[in-house]
Amino acid sequence: MQQLSYFELVGFGPNGWGWALLTATGMTLAVAVCGFLIGSVVGTFVAWAKVGGNLAIRGIADGYTTVLRGIPDLLVIYLFYFGGSAALGAIGSLFGAEGFIGVPAFVTGALAIGIISGAYQAEVFRGAYQVVSKGEIEAARSVGMHRWLMFRRIIAPQVLRYAIPGLGNTWQLVLKESALISVTGLVELLRQSHIAAGSTRRPFDFYLTAAVLYLLITWVSTYLFQRAENHSMRGIRRAS
């Protein structure tokens, strides 16, 4: 059999893996974005607990961020993958179902990424909250704003503004973490490259392509976060 050239291999022709790789890139983006958004929600609550909670709540929140940032992400993914199935199996057996019930890999992946990145985002939000000046919060209170209104109008916009650089870093982490979800069998970019590499025996070509695609996503998202940062800072005068 004649060796295919690199561009035939990853192209969109009859023997090309182009569409498969593009679909898988979409899957990587989807799982990363879902995980990131779950992480934002988790992170907001954890940051709130750290800033405004009593001693016990603060202790739990501190424990959560310390533990999740101190153990390997792969372990957390295994916990969600195997533990989720075991939990579902236990619930299933209550209703008479038997045997192994698998959790969809996408859900496992998004949840695992969300829980991990939540710990990082909590620290980002907490740091940004501390920049919001006390005077603004007092002013909001003195004009009679309630908690939710104050959060929506005063705190959230300012915290988000200062959090953008940190969120950008977390997003890069999340994107790279999403490659680990391939161990659960979700066909994202790395998994698809693995499959293609196995069936064509051209592993280097496919992993290199995967690396280039990841790099492209990183590059575009760095640009977008920079745009967002510039936009959010448009009304702020900076020293130097």
């Binding site: 310390t66 533990v67 101190g70 153990i71 390997p72 992400d73 792969l74 372990l75 957390v76 295994y78 916990l79 993958y81 195997f82 533990g83 075991a86 890069q172 994107l175 790279k176 973490e177 999403s178 490659a179 680990l180 391939s182 161990v183 790395l190 490259s193 693995h194 590499a197 025996r201 051209r202 592993p203 280097f204 070509d205 992993y207 290199l208 995967a210 690396a211 990841y214 790099l215 990183t218 590059w219």
Partner: protein, 241 residues
Amino acid sequence: MDFAFMKETFLSLLSGVPLTLNLAFTSVAFGTVFAMILALMRLSGVSVLAAVAQAYVFVFRGTPLLVQIFLIYYGLGQFRPALQEWGLWIFFREPYWCAVLALTLNTAAYASEIIRGGLQSVPHQQVEAARACGMSGFLLFRRIVFPIAVRQALPAYGSEIILMVKATSLASIITMMEVTGIAAKLISQTFRAVEIFVVAGLIYLIINFIITRIVMAIEWWLSPHLRRPPAVEPRLEAAHV
């Protein structure tokens, strides 16, 4: 929670700790040397060298570590005849060396930015003063620039070492039986994910806790000028002997 089972798990996971530490420290040691070279290239003022270093950092920080590991471990298999001819196949055949190589290349990219930050934080006055005393070249670097830069970079370097300990878990995917590898095997045998996760997580937390303490101790030892001087006790002279 089954404590007898957890104790048994703890003992079997403990047998993976040497490999985890081995991978982490080997790659941090090689990675630091490489990172120094990259940082010096970046600051050399030679635009070609700086651009090469910058591109390297961009590529290795912008792609997932697992992709880098696969590229080296599986990907280089595509060039097996050539590698065998050069006698390098013995090296790339071993998952251990592939993991060390990938981790080293990866940490070098992150660490070079930390070192660059440290080197750039050295105040100009210090360098000027040293030059005025007649120091230059390596002596200037060894006596003035390096000690100041190390103090600046150390906290960030501590987090990088912890990231590397965490990153060694990826070596389990290419069959290395370190802590995560053993944990994954036990989980798939027993399906008791929660207990095994708790024990494995605890081992990583202990390792990382010890590393942070060591880094803090080195920081303390390197910064006597920031510590409050010990209270000088009035010396009691034996006046009436």
